[in-house]
Amino acid sequence: MSRKFLRALIAPVSAAVAAVVISSIALLIAGKDPIEAFREMWKTIDSTQSVTIIINNAVPLYISGVAVAIGFKMNLFNIGSNGQYLLAALIAGWAGAEVSLPPLLHVPFVFLVAMVVGGSWALIAAILNVTRNVNVVISTIMLNYIAIGLSAFLLSELFRDEENGGLVAQTKEMPASAQLPPLNALFEWFGFNFGEGVELYGFLPFAIALGIGYYILLNRSRFGYDLRLSGSNPEAALSSGVNPKKMVLITLFMSGAVAGMIGLPYLMADPDFHKYGDAFPTGLGFTGLGIALLGRNNPAGIAAAAIVWATIERATQRLGPIGVPPEIGRILAGSFLLVAVIAYEVAKRRNDAAATAAAAQATHDERLAAGDDDDTGRGSPDGPTPTATPAGGER
């Protein structure tokens, strides 16, 4: 276990080192001192307050990563999660403010609306794929821009809160029954104190539950098996009785439904929001693509990747005063991602080659034991044995 775990760490750690080196070179080109910059970054994150904020910010990124990972597992690239969550957050925020329900019903109601809206929007791409053979990458990205325009239209024409001055385009604030309280009280009960003005938002348990649900669905259910099989070997899936069209429909709906929840941590648990408006964070869906890739579509990996990403974002926030452009954080994260996907691939090929070599050696030994002298060294294990990875997409 632990050796396997350590081996899995080699690729991300070497990617992190490479990313630090690349960012340092970028800083040197810009005439800045990288050591000073990284020291400042460490100082920024080295407090309870910072760690709490990092966790709060990592939660939506984590959901975003899980949303696209569901599709990635069967080579369905839902790159339109950005539009799905914006539309879902708008409609869920509006609907949540319009109804009055007891908290035990109100919270599930907002969840349900967000998931149905996000899932339905993704379902358009799925239907176009199974009926008209439209590439999912293309349709989801087109629907992404359509969703951005549509949500801006709906916000300004239908869902805008007229009473609140009407100057700022935003929905009505959701009532307290739809809000999730912070988790501070729970931790204080255990004797841990966050300090003044620091709140751990209440969406964290839902995110953890989502991760566990994703793991169980993927690894412990018939559907998860079919999904992974469809991704790694579509022909085998087909001959074992999986209906590929049905899989596309269900998987994209689920991916969209989870994407619909990306905005909920802000909507339900962040006291600065509780409503959808022009200030609502955009672009979380695109970040989620990187996080799913970094986390290798695995729930624990996605969680780690989301925390790393949120840490980089937080750490680079206060670089301005010492003269270092905060944009270095985006280079750090981007190069980390690019090197990491390469490192994962190299590690995978090496493992596959080792497995092939071991298998060849075993066959060889078996033959020797059986007294077969005719072995002319076929299937020699030297050199990496390339394995064809399934083609991306379903063109």
């Binding site: 951005i148 325009g149 801006a152 239209f153 996907v341 390339p386 064809a388 083609a391 063109r395």
Partner: protein, 432 residues
């Protein structure tokens, strides 16, 4: 040793005798005429002359150019075996370098800079996909996330301390790239003499169909800036390169049958790197065209055009002419949103779509394709209803028009497509 000479007549005989309207050239011609008639009718019925005015087509050509370059970029990449989802990121790299060099050295260097930035992105992606065999979509997504960060970092370094510049915008290009107008046809100058503008006169008559064609011709032949002309030239250049030169044959070979190419001595990895360098350069030039249009680098000015280019390429069935047609469609759909009264124009376009559907319905009845009648009637009625029921859409909805048009076009067109056989599959020496 006798050579069997096939009976010439037998070899040339078409196995199916086709009706006149099914012969390819006639069909294209017929549908073009019908299309012009539909647009012209919609213009006359809605009273909105801007639907087919030279101004609209002029803007359409301008907005189509970056998407067309992105499509061409995808075409070269996929023909040489790499699915290039990273076009968007390469265009971003193109915009930042074009904004930088255009500001320092002038508009022509903006194009060179854009191409340079795009090639950097293309080679970086090829390193991941070709050398390391990373899934092409994964690598493309990584490039798309990395490029805006690089662009913002560079903009911060280059433009923040300069008059007129900021982290999201360059100070502006130094100089204008210039325009060209065709003499006689559109009133261009010939040795200092302003020639008569025949097309403008025809357009002003407002005659059914003739004014619309004149508007199109005038729009695409007058005041066309040189970067757009270069774009059109690149379409011919790339088509020639891919289908008429040894290098082009090898590039396509690497995308169709890499193992066979390898056995015939083609360096597959070199070809895939070359393809990605050309692809990146074209995408970067698409970014440069955007910079020249806005006269400066602006953050997020690519706005999904890389993906739109990819969509037009799929719509065009991995062929240059089809890609250009797809980009033209998108350019038109975006062009009308940039005119003075976009809401009305979008409504007129819906009317044109409804009329077009009516023609298609009539065609279906004429060819007695009874199974398609009911769904087509429903779609036609819904479109007419949309025209009469809906009021003028506001700006936020007008913004989505090109994306909706592209999505519809891909859905209608994505039937008998043939992508390169082994695109997107990592290849290494010794693979079958």
């Amino acid at each position: 040793m006798s050579v069997i000479i096939p009976n010439e007549e037998e070899a040339n005989a078409d196995p199916v005798v086709r009706a006149w309207h099914e012969r390819p050239h006639w069909r294209i011609f017929l549908w073009t005429v019908v299309g012009v008639a539909v647009m012209s009718t919609a213009r006359l019925l809605s009273g909105n002359d801007d639907l087919t005015s030279s101004g609209t087509f002029g803007v359409a050509l301008r907005t189509a150019a970056p998407v067309a370059l992105a499509g061409l970029s995808g075409l070269v990449a996929e023909r040489s075996g790499t699915i290039n989802i990273g076009i968007e990121g390469m265009m971003v790299m193109g915009t930042i370098f074009a904004g930088w060099w255009g500001w320092e050295f002038g508009p022509w260097m903006a194009i060179v800079g854009g191409i340079f930035g795009g090639i950097l992105g293309g080679l970086l992606m090829s390193l991941a996909t070709t050398t390391f065999g990373v899934n092409h979509i994964v690598a493309g997504v990584a490039i798309n996330l990395l490029a805006p960060g690089v662009a913002r970092f560079m903009a911060n370094e280059l433009f923040t301390d300069v008059q007129g510049g900021s982290v999201t915008s360059s100070p502006g290009n130094s100089g204008d790239i210039g325009e060209f107008t065709v003499p006689f046809l559109s009133g261009g100058e010939l040795f200092g003499w302003t020639t008569p503008n025949i097309m403008e006169w025809l357009e002003d008559t407002g005659w059914f169909m003739i004014a619309d064609v004149a508007g199109f011709v005038l729009g695409v032949t007058s005041e066309v800036s040189w970067d757009v002309i270069l774009t059109v030239g690149l379409f011919f250049g790339i088509a020639y390169l891919l289908w008429s030169t040894p290098l082009g044959l090898r590039l396509r070979f690497a995308g169709e049958r890499p193992s066979a190419a390898d056995s015939l001595g083609v360096n597959v990895h070199l070809m895939r790197y070359t393809g990605m360098a050309i692809s990146g350069g074209l995408a970067g030039m698409g970014g440069a065209v955007l910079v020249l249009f806005a006269n400066r680098y602006q953050e997020d000015q690519v706005a999904g055009r890389g993906f739109l280019g990819l969509a037009t390429m799929i719509f065009g069935n991995w062929m240059p002419l089809g890609t250009a047609a797809g980009a033209g469609l998108f350019g038109y759909a975006q062009g009308i949103t940039l005119r003075t009264n976009p809401g009305e124009l979008v409504r007129a376009l819906v009317l044109a779509a409804a009329l077009g559907l009516l023609v298609v319905l009539a065609w279906i009845v004429y060819t007695q394709n009874w199974r398609a009648v009911v769904p087509m009637t429903a779609i036609t009625l819904v479109t007419f209803w949309a025209y009469f029921a809906a009021t003028e859409p506001n700006n936020q909805l007008v913004f989505v028009t090109p994306y909706v048009v592209t999505l519809i076009a891909v859905s209608v067109g994505a039937q008998r497509l043939r992508p390169p056989a082994e695109e997107g599959i990592p290849w290494f020496k010794g693979m079958q």
